[in-house]
Symmetry: C2
Subunit: 371 residues, 2 copies
């Protein structure tokens, strides 16, 4: 690994991120091509799911193909080795007069898993693997988590007062965090596959969970409605993004009577979203099973914007991977708590975060930490 | 105001702070003397209550008194004009062959209040007032608060988890914050006149409230014990700093039977601290009256290290001036909350902080804000 390699890979990672939200369930990938003289001659990213891969876009961007002679290709993920929506990138690269391919990390997908790298080496191209590997893994943490565990990466978002309250005693929760914080949440919504809420929040706030304050892709919207009794007229079931709504229920009877896809379609004004039947656990929706079912769709990442009840249940079941908590410089001294009832009794069981970051966002502070 | 003035006053403020804790109930004062040629020829601070003032120490530090000819004296507070423990500083300065005195702020004490400045001007010394005034006011915010309101400046210290808990459900509160945070609290103890706790914390934790992890002056220790029923053997009533303990009660009967200073002295093993009788309000100790009585002692500043009950009561009564809140990167999801029950019902009543600061302390975050 040399300084130039790190620099070009860093650029490839930076541009890759522009595909956030749009390429899922694929990983974000960036590619930079550098001539034998050390000049950048092309770059490209995977822009949208189902469209061309980063390598193809980068190669197409090279205006003078003579410069490819002896060039180096930097790519943030191992070039694919299988025929999917596009032909294998390793074959595309092997046909070029390039000398060297630098790869940040292997693709863990079983269909690739080293085969792309092997293919290039078999065609006499020098391949270096592992340049900015950690950064590349961070960039695609949702994808990697989903690949490994079969369920989505779950981030719990909290917006609370200094003393840990998310609503005043009268139930009002608008607005504890400031405008900058709320805009940032909209940006996150555009990067996560889905936003999740529980019954109470859906009933109380009738949220839309759309991306509004910023440009970006609209997310899927997941409602945990165990008894399947939320009223039909709520925003999530009627607005222009109705098809992006996924309802999770454990009520077998109601699901079979009303929400089974076949029955649902027969109705005059049927729900155009998805209803999934998942397991029940102690009278509640089994959240572990819910995430497993979401993983199969596939949903690779979920931003939970729930209230106390669902947030605490997810924490209790160890299903939260990351917490993003806005702390407003205010105190309520009462009302709904951000988290209550996770089954901890002794100090020795305290949940500790790792990779903690604190950041000022407007007047608020943003805490980020992983479990 | 010129750059040199700001620079020398800044030094005077910096050295003044070394008297923190030791000079109370006097303000901290620093003094720097600069020759006509612009060289520093002396400096001094008010080091301990009852000892020499900053001006006297600064003048005494000048080795060659000829250099005083045409010199400028920088002092963070108006020189005193009255005979207290020491002769008036304005007279001391007026006798010197100096040209100019630069003062950061007037002394609001009725006995001074501009008289020191007037005295100097009457003796043909040029006086400039207001250089780094805000910084000087900040330095002595405890003193100024006490001068103005007659009660101590009250800082509420909280050490909580991200989700706002100060103890696990089983009652254990050791240790939520880290070692760095705890050391910083000991430093604060040495700067505040007194540390305050309630009945519950005193019974549960049997605290000492002394300065241990750092060098510094030991504070007074205030216990709010409304019914006057705490056991005699607790650390605060028996350790080597027993005389620094102040118990506040509203139980007139018990106070007259047991704790009145005259009766107390007759006992074989009498309590060498102070017991104060204060008003009752709705069956509890009237905290406003308690602070008024403390102000008379005088106690100019109180660091409250209380649990949920006393902390919330002080907030409810609007008696907290500043909050210092350590947030540990941990979650408990249950247990005692930092604040509960301050009488807020609607979002419009939310308590907002001003002059907010966020600071990393070890692994914890420290929030500071004023009401």
């Amino acid at each position: 690994m040399n300084e130039a390699d790190t620099q070009w890979m860093s650029l490839a990672l930076e541009i890759a991120e522009r595909g956030a939200g749009y390429v899922s369930p694929n990983p974000m990938v960036g590619c930079v091509i550098v001539s034998a003289e050390g000049e950048k001659i092309g770059q490209g990213i995977h822009e949208r799911y189902g469209q061309a891969h980063a390598e193809k876009n980068a190669v197409d961007s090279v205006s003078n193909s003579e410069l490819l002679d002896g060039a180096t290709v930097y790519v943030t993920l191992e070039p694919c080795a299988h025929h999917g929506n596009t032909p294998p990138c390793c074959e595309l690269l092997a046909e070029l007069p390039i000398d060297r391919v630098v790869v940040a990390m292997e693709d863990p997908t079983p269909k690739v898993a080293g085969k792309g790298i092997q293919y290039l080496r078999n065609h006499n191209i020098e391949v270096e693997v592992g340049v900015l590997k950690e950064e590349a893994e961070k960039l695609n943490e949702f994808f990697l988590h989903h690949q490994r565990w079969g369920r989505p990466f779950v981030t719990l978002k909290i917006a609370q007062t200094l003393d840990g309250y998310i609503a005043a005693p009268d139930g009002d929760s608008e607005w504890i965090s400031g405008q900058h914080s709320r805009s940032l949440v909209h940006e996150w919504r555009s990067r996560y596959d889905a936003v999740m809420v529980g019954r109470n929040t859906t009933l109380l706030d009738n949220p839309r969970l759309t991306v509004r304050h910023v440009e970006g892709r609209q997310p899927k919207r997941i409602v945990i409605d165990g008894p399947l009794e939320l009223p039909d007229e709520l925003n999530l079931f009627t607005d222009q993004y109705e098809e992006k709504t996924i309802v999770l229920t454990h009520n077998q009877k109601k699901y079979r009577e009303e929400a089974d896809p076949m029955l649902n379609m027969l109705k005059s004004d049927y729900f155009r979203g998805t209803t999934l039947l998942v397991d029940e656990k102690d009278g509640h929706t089994d959240l572990g099973d819910a995430l497993k079912e979401l993983g199969k769709l596939p949903v690779t990442s979920v931003l939970v914007e729930a209230g106390q009840s669902l947030a605490s249940a997810l924490l209790r079941e160890n299903l939260v991977d990351k917490v993003e908590c806005f702390i407003a410089p205010k105190m309520l001294g009462g009302g709904a708590r951000s988290v209550l009832g996770v089954g901890i009794n002794h100090m020795s069981e305290i949940m500790e975060f790792r990779e903690v970051e604190w950041k000022q966002v407007g007047d608020d502070l943003l805490f980020s930490g992983y479990f």
